[in-house]
Every structure is written in C-alpha cells, then in structure tokens.
C-alpha cells in the first residue's frame, strides 16, 4: 500500500521556472497570493489568468499534474461556486427553475472566485512541482533570517526541516516494512471494523516509534562527535545563486501588480 506513497510532488526539469532560485519563487508565490486580490473585474481576472498560463508554459509542467492537485479541493471549489450562484441575488435574473434562481451578479462572482482559486492552486502547485522540498527549506531559511532579531530560532527550524526531509523516505520504508510484517502475522489495518483497525494500529506505531528514537539518538551522537555546535559560523553545502532571471521575475510581478491596480474598477 506504500507504493503509491511519494513524498512531495517535485518533478525535476530544466525549464525557466526550474532554474529559478527558491528565494525568488517563494517571494513570488507569497506576493502573488496577495496581488490576486487586486482583481475585481473581467479585465483584471483575464490578466491574472493569462499571467498564470504563461507561468505554466514557462514551467513546462504537464497540465495533468496541475489538474491532479485540484482533486482534493474540488468539492470545496464547486461548493463555493454554488453558494455564490444561489445566494447572490443581484443583477438581472438569468435562469429560473422552480425555487432555483440564478442572477447575473451571482454567476459573475461565482466565475471570478473560481478563477481566483484555480490560479492560486496552480501557482502554489508550480512552486512545489518545480522546486525540491530541500531547496524550499534553504530558501525559507535565508528569507526568515531577519526574524532572528526577534528570537525566532530560524537556524534550528531549518535544521529540523532538513532532518525531517532526510528521514521521511526512510520512515516510509520502515512503516511499509512493519505493515507487511504485521500483515504476514495476520493483522491488517485496512480491513475490519473500526475497533479492529485501531487495535491493528498499535503494533504498527510502537515499533515505528521505538526505532525512531533509536535513530534520533544515533544521529545526535553522530552530530555531536563531529562537533555540531549550532548556527554560528556554519558554512553550507548547498549554495543559493540569485541571477538576472530572479530579478526579472520580481520585476514582472511588480508590473503585474501595477497593471491590476490600474485596470481594476
């Protein structure tokens, strides 16, 4: 049952977006989430949609992966679309069937909000599809550095993130191994009543936790004997490089914001 389980959605590639520095992509997504809210009429939404399509083309990500990312929230998207359609009763009456009435304004708002959700999901998906989790962590660490002044343990957080990312595949293998071992002994957590499943979870978790504590201790010893002392003066194995592409992306985003500001009603 673990074969389908893959951590992260990163797809390696060498497109324009893949080559960007994780810092510029993080700043881009962060600002984009705010800028999207400037759109409030057909023209501005069209601009945002076009901008997103260009980003998708530049990332050379197959549409299939993006659509796939929509599945878990499809229900919410449809639900909010319907809420708009049925509850906004402004503008001309477009369609009526018994007690169901659809007004122009409701349809317009429903379409706008759906475009916004779609665009947001696509843009955040492009970040995780084109950037490996460890690069995102490196980028976050650098971007959060100024908050060290407010006692935010940035280095420690980044260290924990990289340890987690390093261990997740190992932990998946381990979970799979224990699950199979327990299945071989006749215990199965994917069938039976709720009570039986909960009972079957216990012999999975205890060995998993015990071996995790063992791994943690081994790693602590290994780090200590190699003289790990914390963030001060540490050098990095993975270097980040900011080049003209990254500056271009941020400038383009600034232009988009100005354009939306100018076109919005």
């Amino acid at each position: 049952m673990m074969e389908k389980m893959i951590f992260g959605r990163y797809i390696p590639g060498d497109s324009f977006v893949h080559k960007l520095d994780p810092r510029s992509k993080l700043v881009f997504v962060f600002l984009f989430i705010a800028i999207v809210f400037l759109a409030n009429n057909a023209v501005t939404y069209a601009v945002i949609l076009a901008f997103t399509l260009v980003t998708i083309l530049l990332s050379r990500i197959r549409l299939y992966f993006l659509i796939n990312g929509l599945k878990p929230i499809l229900f919410l998207l449809i639900f909010t679309f319907l809420l708009h359609i049925f509850f906004t009763k402004e503008g001309d009456l477009l369609w009526k069937w018994q007690f169901i009435e659809v007004y122009e304004e409701g349809l317009r708002q429903g379409i706008f909000i759906s475009i916004r959700f779609l665009v947001l999901v696509f843009v955040t998906s492009i970040l995780t599809l084109t950037t490996s989790p460890i690069s995102i962590t490196d980028g976050m660490e650098v971007l959060l550095n100024p908050f060290k002044r407010f006692k935010l343990p940035v280095h420690e957080l980044a260290l924990m993130m990289s340890i987690s990312l390093r261990f997740i595949p190992t932990l998946m293998d381990e979970t799979d191994k224990i699950l199979k071992a327990q299945m071989a002994r006749g215990s199965d957590i994917s069938t039976g009543s709720i009570k039986e499943r909960i009972k079957a979870v216990v012999p999975l978790l205890i060995p998993l936790f015990v071996s995790a504590f063992k791994r943690a201790e081994d790693l602590a010893v290994a780090m200590e004997v190699r003289g790990y002392r914390g963030g001060e003066g540490r050098t990095r194995y993975r270097q980040l490089k900011w080049d003209w592409r990254d500056s271009l992306v941020i400038v383009t985003l600034g232009i988009l914001a100005l354009l939306l500001w100018w076109l919005r009603s």
Binding site: M1, K4, M5, F7, G8, R9, I33, A34, G69, P72, I73, L76, T80, L83, H84, F87, I113, R116, F117, L120, V121, T124, S125, T128, L129, P133, I136, M140, L157, L159, M160, M161, I163, S164, L165, F167, I168, L171, M172, T175, I189, R197, I198, V202, L205, I206, L208, F209, V210, A212, F213, R215, A216, E217, L219, A220, M223, E224, Y228, G230
Partner: protein, 189 residues
Amino acid sequence: MNRSKLLLLIEVAIFAGIGLVLDMLSINLWFQGGSISLVMVPIVLMSIRWGLVGGLSTGLIIGILQILAGRAYILYPAQGFLDYFIAFTVVGLAALVRHKVLQARNEQRKGKMITYIVLGAVFGGLFRLITHVIAGVIFFSEAAEGKNVWIYSLVYNGGYMIPSIILTAIVCSIIFVAAPRLIEHRNNV
C-alpha cells in the same frame, strides 16, 4: 549546543516526519479522501515526552512539511497561515497535561494516566479544530456573506476533526500505557 537540546531537535524533526507519513497513510486506511488520520499522535507524544516546546515545534514542522509536500491549499493569506502554521502547532498544547501523566505513571495508576492522556489529546485536538474552523470562516465568508458561515465551517472541519480527535485519544492512551518508556526521555544520556 548541549546534548539534550540537540536530541530534542532531532526527535522533533523525526517525529514530525512520522506525523506526515501517518497523515499520508490515512488516505489509504480510512474513509476515501478523508483526512481522518493519526497525524496528531506524534505531536501528543512529543508534548508529553518533552513538554510545550517539543509539542509546539513538532506541530509547526508538520504544518510546514504539508506546504513543502504540496499538500497545502492556500486560498486566502490568513486562511493559509491558520491552516498550516497555527493549526498543527496548537496540538502541542496537549503538553499541559504532561506533569499529571508522568505523575500518574510514577504512581502506577493506569486509570489516572489514561484520563489525562485523553484530556491532553482532546485539548490539543480541540484547539486545532478551532483554528481550522476560523480559517474556514475566512474561506466561506466571501462566498456566503452573512449566511451561516460558522455552521458550514464547523460541519466541514468537524466532519473529519472530531473522529480524528477521538482516534488520537484512543490510540495515544493505548500506546502510552502499553509502552510508557516512549513518553520518558532519559535526561542522563
């Protein structure tokens, strides 16, 4: 950096990883597509084993991992912040029962131990539910102005959170009573 702090950092990191793995596993085990998962078990474990710092940081790392793994859906800035940076973190508030659980453990009183573990899991879980509900209200309030946004959000989030809380409370109390060494870290190493 002293040994105990280093061990805390590493255990938090690895157990956050376990939390994410258990969260991914849930999709195959429980209701299709639902998020009724064991993700809170490692957070409660670290809260009782290390206290508030251990619990809160395990939750925070799990939340950030969700974003890195592409499992996060950020549709409003405030909703994204609450759903991924705050919701998992507050489960670490289960640490408030830490001393009572350890005390009961030393007194060998299983009943008292179970009571406090359940209390801790429910407490942490309820804070997570409240956070998701507020995030949901932000989400729904634009689509249905003035309508029953609190009800929508409560139904949607309660639908998977309440079973998750019950599951976490049951599993934690079985595991911590069966293997109490899990919740005690050795200070002398």
